[in-house]
């Protein structure tokens, strides 16, 4: 098992956002997380990628304890272990967050060299391979501001992949894109799924979730309401909240 969380809880001030999330992700699995706005999907990904701290619960990544419980309180591992763990995960943001001052290729090389200490020529080779895979080889020397949203997002995926993460998280990777550009991102994610890349994808693209995911998780109001194969969740769910969400979604 690559990721295991138990009873994660997170509040912002008085707002209780995550109300006990237990989740397991196996090697090679693709998980889609769906749910209404404000249900805590982004917060969950941000807790798993160390951008937020949980209040309670445990997180284990690739067998290493990231957060444990000591009585009533969550206790984080020390910084060295947290750094080791962060290298095992990658995150693709809704709005890409490429480094605008770096060229496309440098966005992909830089962390390899500075963070992993990989030799520059090797990092360059790897970056070119990834760009080739993303069908962006000719954009290597461009700057992010010169690319379309879809191209920027593919660079962001390549940048994350360059560090060989064990799990890749996506937070609505297509929702900042024009509808005609979402296809190219979904295609990339599909091809990663074929290569058995472990991925957890928050998405509003129901057809895509149904098609690519091994398992679908429906979140509402800070809890996992239902979880199952795409057929179970989309096909004939017996859960009223899931039903209502999917119906409302189909109407839009």
């Amino acid at each position: 098992m690559l990721l295991k969380t138990l009873n994660l809880q997170k509040s912002f001030g008085k707002t209780h956002v995550l109300k006990g999330i237990s989740l397991e992700v196996n090697e090679g699995e693709v998980i889609a997380i769906i749910g209404p706005s404000g249900s805590g999907k982004s917060t969950l990904l941000r807790c798993l990628t160390q951008l937020e701290r949980v209040d309670k619960g445990t997180i284990e990544v690739d067998g290493i304890q990231m957060v444990g419980m000591n009585g009533e309180k969550a206790v984080y591992a020390d910084n060295k272990i947290l750094h080791e763990i962060i290298l095992k995960v990658g995150l693709v943001f809704q709005n890409f967050n490429l480094f605008p001052n770096f060229s496309v290729i440098k966005n992909i090389i830089h962390a390899q060299v500075k963070v992993l200490g990989i030799e520059k020529s090797l990092a360059h080779k790897k970056a070119m391979e990834l760009l080739e895979k993303m069908n962006l080889k000719e954009k290597a020397t461009s700057y992010p501001c010169e690319l379309s949203g879809g191209q920027q997002q593919r660079v962001a995926i390549a940048r994350a992949l360059a560090l060989n993460p064990r799990i890749l998280f996506f937070d609505e990777p297509t929702s900042a894109l024009d509808p005609e550009l979402t296809g190219e991102i979904l295609k990339v994610i599909r091809s990663l799924a074929k290569e058995k890349m472990t991925m957890v994808i928050v998405t509003h693209e129901m057809a895509f979730a149904r098609d690519v995911a091994d398992r679908v998780i429906f979140m509402d109001d800070g809890v996992i309401v239902e979880e199952g194969t795409p057929e179970e969740v989309f096909g004939n769910t017996s859960n009223e909240r899931t039903k209502e969400f999917l119906q409302r979604f189909n109407q839009n």
Binding site: T49, Q50, L51, H83, I86, L87, V89, G90, L91, F93, N95, N97, L98, F99, P100, N101, H110, A111, K114, V115, L116, Y143, P144, C145, R159, A160, L163
Partner: protein, 219 residues
Amino acid sequence: MTIDNVPLHLLIPDMLEASVEVIKIFFLTIIFSIPLGFIVALARRSRFRIISFPTRIYQLIFRGTPLMLQLFFFMYGPYYIFGFSFNRFTACILAFVINYAAYFGEIFRGGIAAIPKGQYEAAKVLGYTKLQTFLHIILPQVIKHVIPATGNELMTLVKDTSLAQVISVPELFRVATNAGTRYFSSIPIIIAAPFYLIMNSVVEVTFKMIEKKMDYYKN
């Protein structure tokens, strides 16, 4: 050659020499006040009020009182407080550096605040340390962001050097006014204008060049 009884062949070399003094004040102020301004900006952003609040008060005082007064203060203040004095030039540089660091602090603070949170978050998840994030990712973007305002500030600095006359630093304006008194003429002061204008043209052109050089990407 003389105009209005002013011997230009004597005045111009004096003014050139005085311009060197202006350039000295200009560069020394830059060298010290820009790094100091960065520290001020970071201090202002500190989570600890014990750091950010006094920094804000310092900025308020030095942006809120005349630079001329600050020059007097650094020239004569230490004697009354500590019983010693800096020499003229040191007092002058101290006043300029501390005054301009307060302004640069404000400019750089704005530049740092303009960098989206997503940049820090992306860097963090990629495993960059805080220092690496600041040096490689944040700082270059901040620099690009603050170039125009910094250029503006440095043009003001060139003109502000004329205030150093109040503590008798032999800079351009003092040499011009002294000559004006000596020859009963306003010609020396008028001649000073193109000197300032030329120096500021150099500043302006340099900053336009830097801006253009950094134009290869957009934030």
